[in-house]
C-alpha cells in the first residue's frame, strides 16, 4: 500500500446553464504517492462530486484527451505524477479555448483547422492495386516520423500566445500534421498544402515563441514543423514563379 497524502485541488467549474463566468471549487483528496493528476480528478468525480466534467480515455498518453492546465501549465494529466506538485494543485481548462463545461473545452475550431491542412496523402493519380504498394526507405520515413507522433492533445494550442491573439492562425498541431504529409515521399500534395500554409492564418503568423514544443508530451516539436514549413513554403512559392508546376510535384 503506497503512502497517502491529502492534497487540495482547486478546480475550475463552469455550468453554461447557471454560471455567468467560470468559478472554482476546492476539494481535499487523499492522494496515493503513485497517482497521476488524472487519478485525483477521477477520485473527485467518483467520491466527492459526480458533476465534475472533464475528458479522459486511455490513461497511457496515447489518446490525447486529458489535456488541462495544471498549476498553469498545459499538461497531459494521465502522464503527470502528483508527486511533482505541491500541497495545493490548481486545475483549469486549456487556455486559448472556449470552455463548454468545467474542464471541457470546445474542440470544433481545432477540428476545422486540422481538416483545412489536408492531413492525408494526396496523389495526382492513385496506383492500381496490381502495381503494388508505395515503397518508402527508412531514411524517407525518418524525415517525417517525428511529426506523425502527434496525439492531438492540443497542449500546444494552449501554450501558444499567437493562437490566443490571432483566431485565424492554423496553429501548431495542425501545421505539424500537414507538414508531416509534405515530407512524406508518397505524397504529391505539398504545393496544395503550402498554398494553405501561406493563406489565411498562415505559418508566417508564428513568431517562434517555441512554447508548443516545450509543452508537447510526445516531443513532436511543432515549432520545428512550422518554421520548416515557412522555409519550404517560400522555396515552393519561388519555384512556382519560374516553374510551370511549382515546387515538389
Amino acid at each position: 500500500m503506497s503512502d497517502v497524502q491529502i492534497k487540495k485541488f482547486v478546480v475550475t467549474r463552469f455550468d453554461p446553464d447557471k454560471d455567468e463566468v467560470p468559478r472554482t471549487d476546492t476539494f481535499e483528496v487523499p492522494c496515493q504517492s503513485d497517482w497521476m493528476v488524472l487519478d485525483a480528478l477521477n477520485f473527485i468525480k467518483d467520491q466527492l462530486d459526480g458533476s465534475l466534467s472533464y475528458r479522459w480515455s486511455c490513461r497511457m498518453a496515447v489518446c490525447g484527451s486529458c489535456g488541462m492546465n495544471v498549476d498553469g501549465a498545459p499538461t497531459l494529466t494521465c502522464k503527470s505524477p502528483l508527486s511533482s506538485y505541491g500541497d495545493t494543485v490548481e486545475v483549469t481548462p486549456l487556455s486559448n479555448f472556449p470552455v463548454i463545461r468545467d474542464l471541457v473545452v470546445e474542440l470544433d475550431g481545432f477540428m476545422e483547422k486540422l481538416k483545412a491542412v489536408k492531413p492525408w496523402i494526396i496523389r495526382a493519380k492513385e496506383k492500381a492495386v496490381e502495381e503494388g504498394p508505395y515503397r518508402q526507405s527508412p531514411e524517407e520515413l525518418e524525415d517525417f516520423k517525428q511529426f506523425s507522433l502527434c496525439i492531438n492533445c492540443m497542449l500546444c494550442y494552449a501554450a501558444c500566445p499567437v493562437v490566443g491573439n490571432e483566431p485565424d492562425f492554423i496553429g501548431p498541431a495542425a501545421i505539424a500534421l500537414g507538414y508531416r504529409y509534405n515530407l512524406d515521399s508518397r505524397d504529391e500534395g505539398a504545393s496544395e498544402r503550402n498554398a494553405i500554409f501561406r493563406g489565411e492564418g498562415s505559418v508566417y503568423s508564428c513568431s517562434f515563441a517555441n512554447e508548443c514544443s516545450e509543452v508537447c508530451p510526445e516531443n513532436v516539436d511543432p515549432a520545428a514543423a512550422i518554421n520548416q514549413a515557412k522555409l519550404s513554403g517560400l522555396v515552393d512559392w519561388a519555384a512556382s514563379l519560374v516553374l510551370p508546376r511549382g515546387g515538389k510535384d
Binding site: E106, A158, P161, G164, P167, D221, A223
Partner: protein, 146 residues
C-alpha cells in the same frame, strides 16, 4: 489570473448552441517564465526601430557637410546616446543567441537532395560567422583597412 484571449480564439466558424466561457490567454503570458524571454525577444524590435531613426537622422544631417558630421559625433558622445547603444548591443547579443539556438530546428530535413549539417555544426558555423564579421568590422572601424 490569466488575461482574456481574443474572443474568437479557437471558436468554430459556426458556433455551437451551448453557451461557452470565453477563452483565456496562457497562464503567465506575457510576464512570467519562458514567456518573459519570448516577449523580451520580440520587444528588441523597438530598439531596432529607434536605431533606424537615429541612423536616418545622422544620414540626413550629413547633408550639412562637415558641420553636420561634427554634430552627429557630438550627439553620439551624449551619455543617453551611449546608454542606448549599450542597450542595443545587449539586445543584439540576446537576439543573436536566441536566433542561433532556434535556427537549426527551422531547417527542413532536406532541401532537394541536400541535408543540412547537424545542429551543433550549424550553430558553430553561425557563431563563427558572427565572431568573424565582428572582428573584421572592428578592424575596419579602427582604421585597419585604410
Amino acid at each position: 489570473m490569466a488575461r482574456a484571449a481574443h474572443p474568437q480564439a479557437m471558436q468554430p466558424k459556426k458556433p455551437g448552441t451551448t453557451r461557452t466561457a470565453p477563452p483565456k490567454m496562457p497562464d503567465g503570458f506575457p510576464g512570467k517564465g519562458r514567456y518573459r524571454t519570448y516577449v523580451a525577444f520580440e520587444t528588441t524590435g523597438l530598439i531596432y526601430l529607434l536605431m533606424g531613426f537615429i541612423i536616418l537622422r545622422a544620414i540626413w544631417q550629413l547633408g550639412a557637410g562637415e558641420a553636420g558630421w561634427n554634430g552627429v559625433m557630438d550627439a553620439y558622445r551624449n551619455p543617453i546616446m551611449i546608454g542606448f547603444h549599450v542597450l542595443a548591443l545587449v539586445g543584439v547579443i540576446f537576439v543573436g543567441v536566441r536566433f542561433f539556438w532556434l535556427f537549426p530546428k527551422a531547417q527542413p530535413p532536406r532541401i532537394g537532395p541536400v541535408r543540412p549539417p547537424p545542429a551543433a555544426i550549424l550553430k558553430g558555423m553561425l557563431y563563427s560567422v558572427w565572431i568573424g564579421t565582428t572582428l573584421v568590422m572592428t578592424w575596419v572601424l579602427a582604421g585597419g583597412a585604410f
